[in-house]
């Protein structure tokens, strides 16, 4: 991007010796990038082995679910969506939240953020991979996935909000894949990236990030039969929580990168993200209070899901621990972020981020998806607690997502810091 002083810059358009040469160079880049996934310190290997093991346990559990059917989950015709869709929803927020690095970097010309924005783009890619994983394991018939492909299957667009979600999630995935891939490859070649090949996509991706979470909220809030979701506040709350969990996760990732790689990262990016969170945590608590007031002051049947969620109903209290843990963590993160200590001492900031991340995860997952089904549409109260299979599969998908993220960041930073370039590898090709 903005590094005119790049000493190893190649001419803008080197004449290819044959038509195949650019393709070969690109394949060589991919091969060397993938090779990086199998090199590293003992810490890297330990981390990847642990994640692989969890991912395999998850894959195995999913296999059993495929064989025996979704009876191995705790889902029922009363609570027909649970942990998987909860994780999916949270994952979409995480993907959208990554845009909080892109906006300062490109819209407000924040140079510190510009240096690390690639991490946000890679996070978006990994988060979408996680989302797709959760959608697939929630399907009763993943073998019929092709039915939802536009043009090949029968794509019920524009009526079904789920088809909109397919469009925006895949679009966001491709946008970020292109942006991150293009910038990294140009850096690898030692060329200055051409603005017309990435800037329009970057700006599109900003709108797109908002759209993925808005569409995901519309998926739920458009259902008139589920009063708990059928609120105009759902989409704004989704966006607010995305801009809590996304920045919180990135601050933690930046700290890991700072500690375990040679990349120099100042305090600027983390502080910018913390400033975003200082607003969004309060906004989210405010909207939560507004929803609680509406439900509880009005009362009646429309409030029964909220009452069940926060206080339990008819002797059933399954979600009460989840939601109060979430509220406690969200309030704690708001307090921590506003203490002056969180500016001075990075450990306080990291603690605030951990609280915020887990708080939003619980609130938006189990606290948002499950209560819409309890009581059911005929007002029966059937509870839900994820089964061991569901926990295993979910852990497996997150582990796989973290593997994707780790490898992506490892490759990204190697290129970014100039350790992986076309120069050193190509004497035989360029001679």
């Amino acid at each position: 991007m903005t590094d005119p002083a790049d000493p190893i810059r190649l001419p803008d358009a080197p004449a290819p010796r044959s038509m195949a040469e650019p393709a070969l160079t690109y394949l060589r880049f991919l091969r060397r990038a993938i090779a990086l996934a199998f090199q590293g310190s003992w810490r890297f290997f330990a981390w990847m082995i642990v994640l692989s093991a969890i991912a395999l346990v998850g894959m195995n559990a999913w296999g059993h679910q495929l064989l025996r059917g979704m009876q191995v989950t705790d889902l029922s015709d009363h609570v027909s969506w649970g942990l998987y869709i909860a994780n999916f929803t949270f994952g979409v927020g995480l993907a959208a939240g990554a845009v909080m690095m892109v906006i300062p970097a490109y819209l407000y010309d924040d140079h510190d953020m510009h240096d690390v924005v690639i991490i946000g783009e890679l996070l978006a890619i990994a988060a979408i991979v996680v989302c797709m994983g959760f959608v697939i394991v929630d399907m009763g018939r993943p073998d019929r996935l092709w039915h939802i492909l536009p043009g090949i299957g029968r794509f019920h667009w524009p009526v079904s909000m789920l088809t909109w979600d397919v469009v925006v999630l895949n679009g966001y995935f491709l946008l970020n894949l292109h942006i991150a891939g293009y910038l990294l490859y140009q850096r690898y070649l030692g060329r200055r990236p051409k603005r017309r090949w990435y800037l329009p996509f970057v700006f599109l991706s900003i709108f797109w990030a908002i759209s993925i979470h808005t569409v995901t909220a519309f998926l739920y809030q458009g259902l008139g039969g589920r009063p708990f979701w059928n609120s105009a506040l759902l989409a704004p709350r989704f966006i607010a929580t995305a801009f809590i969990s996304g920045p919180a996760f990135v601050i933690i990732v930046l700290e890991v990168v700072r500690r375990y790689s040679s990349m120099k990262i100042g305090d600027g990016p983390s502080e910018t993200l913390a400033r975003v969170m200082r607003i969004t945590v309060l906004l989210n608590l405010f909207m939560l209070a507004s929803e609680l007031f509406t439900a509880l002051y009005t009362g009646g049947a429309h409030a029964s899901a909220v009452r069940y969620l926060f206080f339990g109903a008819h002797g059933h209290h399954g979600l009460v621990p989840y939601i109060w843990t979430a509220v406690t963590l969200n309030v704690a993160s708001a307090i921590l972020l506003h203490l002056p200590r969180s500016r001075a001492d990075r450990r306080w900031l990291l603690a605030a981020c951990a609280c915020a991340f887990v708080g939003v995860y619980l609130e938006k997952g189990m606290g948002l998806i499950v209560p819409a089904f309890i009581p059911s549409t005929l007002h029966e109260l059937v509870e839900y607690a994820p089964s061991m299979t569901e926990w295993k599969v979910s852990a497996g998908i997150w582990a796989f997502g973290l593997m994707v993220l780790t490898v992506a960041i490892k490759i990204g930073l190697s290129v970014w810091t100039g350790r992986l370039t076309a120069q050193e590898s190509a004497p035989e090709a360029r001679a």
Binding site: D138, R141, R144, I148, R154, L223, R226
Partner: protein
């Protein structure tokens, strides 16, 4: 041994162990994939099938059922009749909550025996209240109980059906005679329709339905009561395999009090039209704008 060779040896060892672990973990997926029939996976949507292709599929399903259960069944695809638009009305003054309708549905529609599944749920409501919150479905006493009335709920075959709108793959749609059907061979099992339905009318096949061979109803419809595959959604079809050839729904035939009135909304001489014109009729959750074809009325 020098450091690089030790490194290589460790990597080879790790790679081998990893590949072994992967192969072991993937076993159930491989077993599942082996059981997936390519013909069924590539089967087209019901609306895209020619009559010949459909006939072939019907014979295939019959042969498969024979192979699995040893039972001769007939799977038909009866089209909607011209000039017929089905509606259903239920007299709450007569219903005594005996749940014979739910039982008949269970038998007629080849439901899973283990879960005692049925498309009908009967709510025991408190006299003087429409609040379903105060209703009970799992009552277990002599009926009718004093101070109670009973409200069976099944698919309302809505004209503005949220379940049809939300389906991402058009696996569920409204037929010309008003019945909302599911193509069990096209449904991807996402259960968005189950989340969208305000009447708890849809069921998911959490496992392969279990039915003793002797209890299988051999009179089956492609879009209604044929034995469903695992992992897809199903629902009440007003027994279209019966009603499309002039029979009455199984739930109506089972009702001992005559509380159920089924008929053609377009026929001015039908009992159904008489009820709609002369009784005080209401539909459930009218405020949601779903436009049900299932009506409740009182005999006063």
């Amino acid at each position: 041994m020098t450091a690089p060779t030790r490194r290589v040896a460790l990597k080879v060892l790790g790679g081998t162990l990893g590949a072994g672990a992967f192969a072991y973990a993937a076993q159930p997926i491989a077993r599942w994939a082996a059981g997936v029939s390519l013909e069924e996976t590539l089967r087209r949507h019901y609306k895209e099938l020619t009559r010949e292709e459909l006939a072939q599929i019907l014979r295939h399903i019959e042969a498969q059922t024979h192979e699995t259960y040893g039972v001769e069944v007939q799977v038909r695809d009866l089209p909607p009749q011209e000039g017929v638009s089905f509606g259903y009305a239920l007299n709450l003054s007569l219903c005594i909550g005996c749940r014979k309708c739910a039982e008949a549905c269970h038998v007629e529609n080849n439901h899973d025996r283990r879960t005692n599944n049925s498309y009908i749920r009967v709510l025991e409501m408190e006299q003087g209240s429409f609040d379903m919150e105060r209703g009970q479905v799992d009552y277990d006493h002599t009926v009718p109980a004093p101070g109670k009335y009973y409200m069976p709920v099944q698919c309302h075959q809505c004209d503005n059906a949220p379940c049809v709108s939300v389906c991402p793959v058009e696996a569920t749609w409204k037929e010309r005679d008003g019945v909302v059907v599911v193509d069990y061979d096209w449904c991807i099992g996402c259960r968005y329709c189950e989340a969208a339905c305000p009447y708890h009318a849809r069921r998911f096949n959490w496992s392969k339905p279990e039915i003793p061979a002797a209890e299988i109803n051999p009179d089956q419809g492609y879009l209604s009561n044929r034995i469903r595959p695992q992992g897809v959604v199903e629902k009440c079809t007003f027994c279209l395999h019966r009603t499309r050839r002039g029979q009455l729904p199984a739930c109506l035939e089972a009702c001992p009090t005559g509380a159920r009135v089924f008929g053609n909304l377009l026929d001015p001489d039908s009992d159904l039209r008489w009820v709609l014109e002369h009784k005080r009729v209401y539909v459930l959750k009218e405020e949601l704008g779903t436009k049900p074809r299932f009506f409740y009325f009182f005999d006063v």
